[in-house]
C-alpha cells in the first residue's frame, strides 16, 4: 500500500522523541496499530511506519500536548465516536458544515432538535462529498442512508466510504480499511473518503469551534 516507509530508529532520530514516548502513545492509542509495519531486514525483524502519516501524527501530538492531556488527545484521535450533542441551530451556524447538507439531512430524517455525534458525522461526510462536487444531492440521500444504517457496525474500526457509479446507477459502499478493493472496468469511483480521518477532522473542528465545550455528556 504505502511504499514510503520510515524505520522506527529513523523516526526517533528525526523527531527527537524517545522509545518510551512512542510506546506510551501506542498504549494510549494515539498511533493506530496498523501503522506498525513489521518487516524482515538483515538485522532481524524491524518496525516501520508509513512515513507521511506518522510524521504528521507525531507533529500533531507534540503540538497539542501542551494544551490537552494525552487522554483528551486519544479521544480526538480515536476512530470511535465521542459523546457530543449539539443543537440544530449550532450546526446550522455554518462553521462546521454547509446549510445545504444540514437541510438534506433533515429532509431525509426529519427535523431534529439535537444532533448526536454519528448524525453530525453523517452530515459532515455528506457535506464534504457535496462540496467537492463528487456526488449530486440525490446521491447524497443514498449516502446518508448507507451511513445511518451501517456506520455503526464499524464502531471503533477504521473504514473507507466509497461511492461508485456505473451506467448511471450509484452505489455507496463502506469497507474496513486498510483494504484492497477493485471494480470492473465500467465502474468509476466517484469519491472516496477515509472515515477515521473525517472523524478526526470533525472532532478537531468541534473542539476548536468551542461547540463541544460543556456539551460533552
Amino acid at each position: 500500500m504505502e511504499n514510503d516507509l520510515i524505520s522506527k530508529k529513523d523516526l526517533l532520530e528525526l523527531t527527537g522523541i524517545s522509545y518510551g514516548q512512542l510506546y506510551r502513545w501506542k498504549r494510549k492509542m494515539l498511533i493506530p496499530e496498523d501503522w506498525f509495519v513489521r518487516k524482515s531486514t538483515f538485522t532481524g525483524q524491524e518496525t516501520f511506519f508509513p512515513r507521511d502519516k506518522i510524521l504528521a501524527r507525531v507533529e500533531k501530538i507534540k503540538n497539542m500536548k501542551e494544551e490537552s492531556s494525552l487522554d483528551e488527545l486519544a479521544d480526538i484521535l480515536s476512530p470511535s465516536p465521542k459523546d457530543i450533542e449539539i443543537t440544530a441551530a449550532e450546526l446550522n451556524s455554518g462553521s462546521i458544515v454547509s446549510n445545504a447538507a444540514v437541510e438534506l439531512f433533515q429532509d431525509v430524517f426529519g427535523l431534529r432538535e439535537h444532533f448526536s455525534f454519528p448524525d453530525i458525522l453523517s452530515v459532515y461526510i455528506l457535506d464534504k462529498m457535496l462540496a467537492s462536487g463528487d456526488i449530486s444531492g440525490e446521491e447524497g440521500r443514498v449516502l446518508l442512508s448507507t451511513l445511518e444504517g451501517h456506520l455503526d457496525s464499524f464502531k471503533g474500526q477504521n473504514c473507507d466510504m466509497i461511492f461508485i457509479r456505473k451506467l448511471g446507477t450509484s452505489v455507496c459502499v463502506l469497507v474496513s480499511a486498510p483494504n484492497q478493493i477493485s471494480f470492473d472496468k465500467g465502474a468509476r469511483i466517484a469519491g472516496r473518503l477515509n472515515v477515521a480521518a473525517c472523524i478526526e477532522e470533525l472532532k478537531t473542528k468541534l473542539l476548536n469551534g468551542g461547540l463541544a465545550n460543556g456539551k460533552t455528556i
Binding site: 530508529k9 532520530e13 524517545s18 522509545y19 518510551g20 512512542l22 510506546y23 506510551r24 501506542k26 498504549r27 538485522t43 532481524g44 525483524q45
Partner: protein, 248 residues
C-alpha cells in the same frame, strides 16, 4: 434492564447451569456453566466455572478455576486459582497469584503477577510487575516494567519507559546457599526475548537479540547481540555483548 436496581444476586452452590444475565453479586461455589454473558457488580468463584460468553464485572475474584469463552472486562480482578480467557482481557487492576492463560490480548492499568502468566498476543499495562513465570507471544508494552525472574520467562518484545529485569531476591539467596553448601548449578532465572526498547533500561540474566534505549545498564548473566544507546551505558563484566553502538 441493566441498571443497578433491577439486578439480583446469583448464587450457585453445587452443580448447576445459568443462562447468564445481569446480577449484583454472583457467587459460584460448586460447578457452574453460565451459558451466555455474565454481567455482575462483583463475582466470586470458588469452584469451577465456565462462562461461555463475555464476563463483565466491577470486581472479580477467581479462587477456583474459571474459563471465559469471550472477553473479560473488570475494574479489579484477582486470580488466585486458574483462569483461561479465550478473548481479550481489560482491567484497571489485574492481580495474578495462580495462573492466567489469556488467548487474546491483555490491557490493564496495573498488572501484578506472582504466578504463571501466559498472554498469546500483546500485553499492555501502565505498570507491570512480575515475580513469577511470564510468557508473552506479542509485545509487552508498559510504562514501568518490573520483572523479578523466577524460572524461565519468554517475552517476544518489551517496550516502555522504565524497564527493570533482575533475579528474584529470594532466589538469589537460595542460589547462594546452594552454591556454597551443595555446589549445585545455579538456580535458573532467565528472560529470553527478541528486543527490549525503552528510556531507562536495566537488565540482568537476559538473552536478547537487541536492546535499544536512552540509558542502558546490562547486568550479570546477559547475552545480547546488539546494544544501542543514546545516553549512559554500563556493562557488567560478566555480561556478553556482541556489538554496542552509541546513537545520536
Amino acid at each position: 434492564m441493566n441498571d443497578d436496581t433491577s439486578r439480583r444476586a446469583l448464587r450457585i452452590i453445587g452443580n448447576s447451569n445459568s443462562p447468564g444475565g445481569y446480577f449484583t453479586e454472583a457467587t459460584i461455589v460448586g460447578d457452574a456453566v453460565i451459558e451466555s454473558d455474565l454481567d455482575s457488580l462483583s463475582l466470586k468463584c470458588v469452584g469451577n466455572s465456565r462462562i461461555e460468553g463475555n464476563l463483565k464485572s466491577r470486581s472479580a475474584r477467581i479462587v477456583g478455576s474459571g474459563v471465559v469463552g469471550g472477553n473479560v472486562s473488570c475494574n479489579r480482578m484477582t486470580i488466585a486459582g486458574n483462569m483461561e480467557a479465550k478473548g481479550s482481557i481489560k482491567a484497571e487492576e489485574l492481580i495474578v497469584r495462580g495462573g492466567l492463560d489469556a488467548r487474546g490480548s491483555v490491557k490493564a492499568g496495573d498488572l501484578r503477577t506472582r504466578g504463571y502468566l501466559t498472554v498469546k498476543e500483546n500485553c499492555e499495562a501502565e505498570r507491570f510487575s512480575s515475580t513469577g513465570q511470564v510468557a508473552v507471544g506479542g509485545l509487552l508494552n508498559a510504562g514501568r516494567v518490573d520483572i523479578k525472574l523466577r524460572g524461565e520467562c519468554s517475552i517476544s518484545e518489551i517496550g516502555g519507559e522504565t524497564i527493570r529485569v533482575n533475579r528474584w531476591s529470594v532466589a538469589r539467596l537460595k542460589e547462594m546457599f546452594r552454591s556454597i553448601l551443595l555446589s549445585n548449578p545455579p538456580l535458573s532465572g532467565l528472560l529470553v526475548t527478541n528486543t527490549i526498547e525503552g528510556d531507562d533500561i536495566s537488565i540482568e540474566h537476559t538473552r536478547a537479540h537487541s536492546v535499544r534505549g536512552t540509558n542502558v545498564r546490562i547486568g550479570a548473566g546477559c547475552a545480547i547481540e546488539l546494544v544501542e544507546y543514546r545516553g549512559n551505558y554500563h556493562k557488567h563484566k560478566g555480561a556478553k555483548v556482541k556489538s554496542e553502538k552509541k546513537i545520536g
